[in-house]
């Protein structure tokens, strides 16, 4: 025993050591990459971010240099702080506190001292920089918007946050990422790929050569330039028309699904979210919860569709063969469907068929169509399901699956929905009769409404509305070049289109909005709406809605305009739609009086009213606000 004691202990120690080695080197080691090794410095080279052009090759978004003053705290030597602060435009207290903060973070690591100094400051500072040891200037690239419009379309970029880094390891602290609009949805295309150099460093942070002779190093791949489907001039015109109103406009080219304009109002200048003022401006926009300029009303806002919905109610009726273009009813100013109170109608009474039903927007006629459709089968639930499937085939009630960074589903109720809602009640067509005139449970976003109009313009199909035209000569995603057919047969569209054409003719709801020389089809809409103010449901002035396409044959543009609290369809939305179509098709507008009416009439008071705390009148009871001495805004 004594003879072997040392041998025994030696072997024990050997086993313990090998176990410990196993634990350290094999068991606990994660699959670590060179990125985790703090003995290797990763130096990134940032690629140029891709430019954005509109459909006519107008440059919308480019890049501009920006300069940050950087500090390496422990390299700072005594300096002329007064001069330095003056050059940087900061106070001495700020200088001291920032210095302390950076020193506490790390004396050795370069950090931002003052970010994004102006070009003028840079010029002066660059000359004197050698006087200030421990400080240097770092150049970064920021976005430069060559336009003041399209903030909701173009979006913006901002520094990544902790969550982004966690989700996408590509990004590192301080990197920029698309935050909204196409900057977000085409982030990976636009940003390119940054290059990386692996440099071995020693304990004192000195470079001691490239890691493994640079076999892992990569070059930066520049971001790709993209062309979007937006027509800059049309978009700008739309935004101009929408000043002092809230709502959205979507214009689509029906034969391709390309979005020509995408206006959300109120909006802001995209340049406000670039550079040093970004945070302050963003906060200001973010805090404006009533006007909510960061909310894209053209894509996100879900409204009741109102009368434009009648067009597809009619199409479903035709497809289900419960009506034909010749069938008529007599409107007596109301439709008695068996409810407590008959459904009112303002069409002027008389014999109504499909065409004058649409052109005069007769509620009775469409209540009749809807009732026929739902009563076609014994079970209202089954026929409502059939009806809902037809409606959904127009791209309503679900995401369009497009390339925009935000969106909403809208809502199309089906039979199952009403079964759930009226559990203990035998509901019938009369229960859901409001759907006939777009006032029921149906909700749509302006882009869905525009797409629905495009389906009618195309006589039965649509391409997913999208914003990308081309990425550096590469063809766009196949999902935007695939036709989606609606469940309505082609022949049923002509009578409906004829009705929409008659809207602009004698007796039609938009007869004053005809465009000289262009055959235009459209549908007005007036939607009752309520909001909760201080927990109390309050009815506000009706929304003004308009959908249209033109020309009647071989349409080039389909549009949906939605103006919150604009009272009736042709009052604001119709005027705007008509002007937009003319502008797009002709390149200029002929009806200056119409244009001027839009410019000089504001709805700002209308929006303030419900929150004033005082009682207020709506619809016809309220006076329309007129802007005196209107001058066209001139922004750069």
């Amino acid at each position: 025993m004594k003879k072997l004691f040392l041998v025994f202990i030696t072997i024990c120690i050997g086993v313990i050591f090998i176990s410990r080695l196993f634990y350290l080197q094999v068991y606990t080691t994660k699959k670590s990459t060179i990125f985790d090794d703090n003995a290797i410095r990763k130096e990134f080279t940032y690629p140029k971010r891709g430019f954005v052009f509109d459909r006519n090759n107008k440059l919308l978004v480019a890049n501009q240099p920006s300069y940050d003053v950087m500090i390496v705290p422990n390299e700072v030597k005594p300096l002329d702080t007064t001069l330095f602060c003056k050059l940087l435009n900061i106070t001495k207290q700020k200088f001291i506190s920032t210095y302390k903060k950076t020193y506490r973070y790390s004396p050795k690591i370069p950090q931002v001292f003052v970010s994004q100094i102006s070009k003028e400051n840079y010029g002066v500072l660059a000359e004197k920089m050698r006087k200030f040891k421990g400080f240097y200037i770092r150049k970064r690239s920021l976005r430069e918007y060559q336009t003041y419009i399209g903030a909701n379309v173009l979006g913006n970029i901002g520094e990544v946050n902790y969550g982004d880094i966690k989700k996408k390891p590509y990004y590192r602290k301080g990197d920029l990422i698309g935050r909204a609009g196409i900057e977000k949805s085409y982030e990976e295309v636009l940003r390119g790929k940054k290059g990386v150099k692996y440099i071995q460093k020693d304990i004192f942070n000195r470079n001691i050569g490239s890691f493994k002779n640079g076999i892992y190093d990569t070059l930066a791949i520049p971001g790709k330039d993209i062309k979007i489907t937006i027509d800059h001039d049309l978009q700008a015109y739309g935004e101009l028309l929408m000043m002092h109103k809230r709502g959205g406009i979507i214009a689509i080219e029906p034969e391709t699904g390309e979005i020509l304009a995408m206006v959300s109002s109120p909006t802001y200048n995209p340049n406000d979210l670039v550079g040093r003022k970004r945070n302050a401006n963003y906060l200001k926009l973010h805090k404006d919860t009533l006007a909510n300029p960061l909310y894209d009303r053209s894509l996100q806002a879900q409204y009741v569709p109102g009368s434009p919905f009648k067009t597809i109610v009619a199409l479903v009726g035709l497809q289900e063969e419960v009506i034909n273009p010749k069938s008529t009813i007599r409107c007596v100013g109301a439709y008695n469907y068996g409810g407590k109170k008959p459904l009112g109608c303002h069409c002027g009474q008389g014999k109504r068929n499909l065409i004058n039903g649409i052109s005069r927007s007769c509620n009775s006629y469409f209540a009749h169509v809807y009732k026929q459709t739902i009563d076609k089968y014994e079970n209202p639930s089954e026929s409502t399901n059939r009806w809902a499937n037809h409606i959904k085939s127009f791209g309503l009630g679900n995401y369009l699956n497009n390339d925009l960074s935000v969106g909403n589903k809208g809502f199309v109720p089906n039979g199952d929905y009403y079964d759930r809602r009226y559990k203990d009640f035998r509901w019938r067509s009369s229960t859901t009769i409001s759907n006939a005139i777009g006032q029921g449970e149906v909700l749509t976003t302006p882009i869905q409404l525009a797409n629905m109009t495009a389906v009618i313009a195309n006589r039965g199909y649509y391409y997913t509305p999208h914003i990308i035209k081309s990425i550096e000569n590469k063809t766009i995603n196949q999902r935007f070049t695939t036709k989606h057919h609606s469940s309505i047969d082609k022949q049923h569209f002509e009578p409906v289109i004829e009705g929409m054409y008659q809207v602009f003719n004698n007796g039609g709801t938009a007869q004053t909005l005809r465009i000289p020389g262009i055959a235009i089809c459209g549908k007005t809409g007036t939607a009752e709406n309520k909001v909760k103010i201080n927990g109390k449901s309050t009815q506000l002035t009706d929304h003004s809605i308009f959908t249209a396409f033109a020309p009647k044959d071989n349409p080039k543009i389909a549009i949906a305009v939605f103006i919150e609290n604009g009272y009736w369809g042709s009052r604001f939305a119709g005027r705007i739609a008509s002007l937009m179509i003319e502008k797009y098709l002709k390149g200029y507008t002929t009806r200056k009086d119409l244009e001027n009416w839009i410019f000089t009439h504001s709805l700002e008071n209308e929006y303030k009213k419900p929150y004033s705390g005082k009682p207020f009148k709506i619809n016809g009871g309220a006076a329309l606000q007129v802007i005196e001495n209107y001058t066209k805004p001139t922004v750069n």
């Binding site: 025993m1 004594k2 003879k3 004691f5 040392l6 041998v7 202990i9 030696t10 072997i11 120690i13 050997g14 313990i16 050591f17 090998i18 410990r20 080695l21 196993f22 350290l24 080197q25 094999v26 606990t28 080691t29 670590s32 090794d37 003995a39 290797i40 071995q200 460093k201 020693d202 304990i203 001691i208 050569g209 890691f211 493994k212």
Partner: protein, 425 residues
């Protein structure tokens, strides 16, 4: 027997293991001390160049050691011991202070550390004393004499502030055990050590109570003989002294840096702020060394490809922390191999020692094995965080002339003694 055979009956296994360690050690010193391109391995301004020179010198030492008569070492052991002691004493007059320890002689650019050589002297003197016919190790008188032989150099070294080198002398307890000291002693020593460490880790009171409970239970239920109250009371008293003594020793006797090392080892610090500070100060070495070893993974990063080694992240890497280079650049396979080589070397020496015909050669062989064992255990245990930081070199591996030469001397005296066994009739 022919004349040719006579001179070359050395134990080639030991020599082979020695060469492996020295060679591989030099490879790692090169990796740890080179910066940028190496123009010439004979660049004597760099540690790897110097070490090459030291290795060449050690070959001269081997030739000299092996060519001397083996009787020489037994006869002159007392003289060698005396010279060692004088050399240690001389440090008080001529010593050069490096890192707070006065344990070097400066000879131009060369520094010599006599404490390394003193181990050889002590081993020889102890072997000589214990193998003497007049020595009876079972008597207390001779036990004290033996301890005195060991203590003298140990005390001189601790006075020069070199705690690590002093602790090496505790390893001679293995010789005492082999030569008849009851195994109980070592069990008591281990028990005492365990008790002190536990009371530092979990505070003295609970450990004392638990131990006393165990003693009382033993007294009433397991005790075989009657009337042993005194023995049990002694144990209880010792428990008190050890547990509270350890805490007192830790708080009042140890210097701050020693306290820190123990606190780091036992993870005594719980305050997160202080832990953060620890990471930047005294825990830095250990953290970096464990990180370097871990980063090697299974196969290592390859010679001079270790990022932490080339970046000089581990301080003292070519000397006491040389094993981290093995860990990073040669991975688990390389490091395990080094451990196995050491184990083989020590086991081989013990086996050969047991085969010796003379008591002197056996005891000396044992001393060699024990010293190598101690250095191996402490050094590798330290870099892997298993024991508190004690700065002693890894034999044949670490950079340094004195260390390499002293270990070469130590080992090859045994090889010579062993060859005599084979050559003799």
């Amino acid at each position: 027997m022919t004349r040719e055979n006579k001179g070359f009956k050395f134990d080639w296994i030991i020599i082979l293991l020695f060469l492996l360690l020295v060679g591989f050690g030099w490879v790692n010193i090169t990796a740890a001390s080179a910066s940028g391109d190496i123009n010439s391995y004979l660049d004597f301004s760099k540690p790897y160049g110097k070490q090459l020179l030291f290795i060449l010198c050690s070959f001269f030492i081997i030739v000299i050691v092996l060519s001397l008569e083996s009787k020489f070492y037994e006869r002159f052991s007392s003289i060698i011991y005396l010279i060692s002691i004088i050399a240690l004493l001389g440090l008080f007059l001529f010593g050069k202070n490096v890192n707070g320890a006065t344990s070097w002689y400066g000879l131009g650019s060369l520094t010599i550390q006599p404490s390394e050589f003193a181990k050889v002297g002590t081993a020889l003197a102890l072997a000589k004393f214990l193998s003497d016919l007049q020595t009876n190790f079972s008597t207390l008188k001779d036990q004290i004499r033996a301890i005195a032989i060991i203590s003298l150099p140990a005390i001189l070294i601790i006075m020069q502030n070199d705690t690590g080198s002093t602790l090496v002398y505790t390893t001679f307890i293995f010789i005492f055990i082999r030569e008849g000291l009851p195994l109980n002693y070592i069990l008591i020593a281990i028990g005492a050590l365990l008790l002190s460490v536990l009371s530092l880790k979990f505070s003295a009171m609970p450990i004392t109570i638990i131990t006393i409970c165990i003693v009382i239970l033993h007294y009433f239920f397991i005790r075989k003989k009657k009337y042993q109250q005194l023995k049990y009371l002694t144990i209880v008293a010792f428990t008190f002294i050890l547990t509270f003594g350890a805490t007192f020793f830790y708080n009042s006797v140890l210097k701050t840096h020693q306290q820190n090392r123990i606190s780091l080892w036992l993870r005594l610090e719980k305050n997160p702020d202080k832990l953060q500070k620890m990471k930047r100060t005294f825990a830095y070495n250990l953290i970096e060394s464990e990180k370097a070893i871990s980063s090697g993974q299974i196969t290592g990063k390859g010679f001079r490809k270790g990022t932490r080694t080339t970046g000089k992240f581990v301080p003292e890497q070519h000397t006491d922390y040389i094993f981290t280079t093995v860990g990073e650049e040669w991975g688990f396979l390389g490091s395990a191999l080094v451990v196995i080589i050491y184990v083989c070397l020590i086991v081989r020496i013990v086996i050969l020692a047991e085969l010796q015909k003379t008591q002197f050669a056996r005891i000396y062989g044992y001393s060699v094995a024990a010293i190598l064992f101690f250095h191996f255990t402490i050094n590798i245990g330290m870099v892997m965080g298993l024991i508190p930081t004690i700065g002693i070199p890894l034999p044949f591996f670490s950079y340094g002339g004195s260390g390499l030469w002293a270990f070469t001397l130590l080992l090859f005296i045994f090889v010579k003694l062993d060859s005599n066994r084979i050559n003799e009739w």
